[in-house]
């Protein structure tokens, strides 16, 4: 008999790919890591006691696969590509799009009515993922590692080869972009709808 959790595992794939992409920055490697993770997960599913959530368990397996692949990739590739950081954290011109010359919001953040209610709606999570996807590459990756994977800033800086202040700038920007995106695509719409 097929374990019903097989289908459930498959449902976590997009999350896992995003996670792997955050760590590996390479679509092909990320797919590979997720594939290996899912195979390992299916094999050890009978021993999964359900103490943690399925996603947490899958992520912990994926972590090991990612580290393996990172080691392999590192030996093939001597240095890490850093160009996207220069564009995303170097200057602060991007802030001028969000704040006027007197330092005020161009599009003031609105009060979001009962935001936690959104958690219960599947469409909210689609909007959330859509907004994550629209972040610039480094921003999306660093935000994911920091806020979703819960890595500490020090680890992220080391992995990404950036300074702490680079990291803060990238996160500041990512948060501003995410909040604007959700306001436009979720909270604005909900408010209008009723």
């Amino acid at each position: 008999m097929t374990d019903p959790r097989f289908a459930e595992i498959e449902g976590h794939r997009p999350y896992l790919v995003r996670y792997a992409l955050g760590q590996l920055r390479d679509g092909q490697l990320a797919e590979e890591a997720v594939q290996e993770c899912l195979v390992a997960a299916l094999e050890s599913l009978p021993s999964f006691g359900g103490k943690s959530s399925l996603r947490t368990w899958l992520t912990s397996i994926l972590r090991f696969k990612v580290i393996d692949l990172q080691r392999r990739a590192m030996s093939e590739r001597a240095h890490v590509e850093l160009t996207d950081f220069a564009a995303e954290s170097g200057e602060e011109g991007w802030l001028d799009d969000l704040f006027d010359e007197t330092g005020h919001w161009r599009q003031p953040p609105q009060a979001w009515a009962d935001p936690e209610a959104a958690f219960e709606q599947r469409r909210f999570w689609e909007a959330f993922e859509g907004c994550l996807d629209r972040l610039p590459a480094a921003g999306g990756r660093v935000f994911f590692k920091r806020e979703i994977a819960g890595d500490d800033t020090e680890t992220i800086c080391k992995d990404e080869g950036i300074t702490a202040s680079n990291c803060w700038v990238i996160l500041h920007r990512a948060r501003l972009q995410l909040r604007a995106c959700l306001e436009k695509n979720w909270f604005g719409k909900e408010a209008r709808a009723g």
Binding site: L54, H104, E116, E147, A164, L178
Partner: protein, 68 residues
Amino acid sequence: MEKKREPGDPVDCRAASRLLSAAYERKLSPMESQALTYHLDRCFMCRNFDSQLKFLHAASERFRSGDE
């Protein structure tokens, strides 16, 4: 409704948003905290941003645990 930085307000919205985000990464200095509190007491837009950051943080946590 567009208000200028009040005399005595050490930070504008741009700087306040930076501090609000930084507070998730490091401990703010006493001066920074004080400046931020002063600004937040007077600026509802930045208070909204503060709430939104809390929301993003909570949403991210849910997303991680698959509690969607």
